[in-house]
């Protein structure tokens, strides 16, 4: 049970990074930490006590396997996170070029 609570704590650390930091890159890193914590949580759900890697080999009937479905989910979620982070960083680089600062208190041309 403590493992799952630690995952939620890591999620909250990432959320603090997104909410409270002023630098654009720190916001991106906070979002990445949140995403890693959710992936970790998904893998830990599928743990079976005493299980091994879920690959079928010749002596498949005698073994206990861990749950393979969360592993497939996490593979996809990691790639989605990669796409999100890459797009965020590309936009952050172009924002730096236009506004000459990474500080979000300066980048507020859109108001109201």
């Amino acid at each position: 049970m403590t493992v799952y609570l630690l995952c939620i704590a890591l999620f909250l650390v990432g959320l603090y990074g997104v909410l409270a930091k002023r630098n654009l890159i720190k916001i991106v890193i906070g979002l990445a930490i949140m995403e890693y914590s959710v992936n970790l949580f998904l893998i830990l759900i599928g743990y079976v006590r005493g299980g091994t890697a879920p690959i079928i080999s010749a002596d498949a009937a005698k073994r206990i396997f861990v749950d393979p479905l969360p592993q497939a989910m996490v593979l996809t979620a990691i790639v989605i996170g990669l796409a999100t982070t890459a797009l965020l960083l590309a936009i952050a680089i172009r924002l730096y070029r236009k506004y000459d600062t990474f500080d979000i208190r300066e980048i507020k041309k859109l108001k109201g």
Partner: protein, 146 residues
Amino acid sequence: MKGMTVIVQKVTQIMCGIIFLYGIYIIVHGHLTPGGGFAGGTIVAGSFILLIIAFSSEFLALKKEETGSSILESSAILIFLVVASIGLLLGGIGIFFINFLPKGTIGNLISAGIIPIFNIAVGIEVAAALLTIFLALLIYRDEVIK
């Protein structure tokens, strides 16, 4: 951007081929060992990116590289879609994504129907996509510095 020191360049010359082969091993054995398309594709892309970082980026014609890897990425996805849709057309059953090649004995390299083909297509696609992202950011940075 500037390259790195002579030690890094010599070690890269030896290692990048080995990393590339390791990535291909993980892609092709995706149905026998953990790994598969995504993980292997990332390792293959890592070997190319290592080359570009160790040697400086003036060595290569980066724009042509980026166009080439972008076209490779799109073609890999199209191959994936065509193989997945073959099941729709043939066989009389007409089911999308069906496993229509013969499945051999468990544990052989050539077995499990169309899954190795999907692994290879996804591996090429992920490697090309990561390389395109890296080259796009690098080209933008070089243009800005100039």
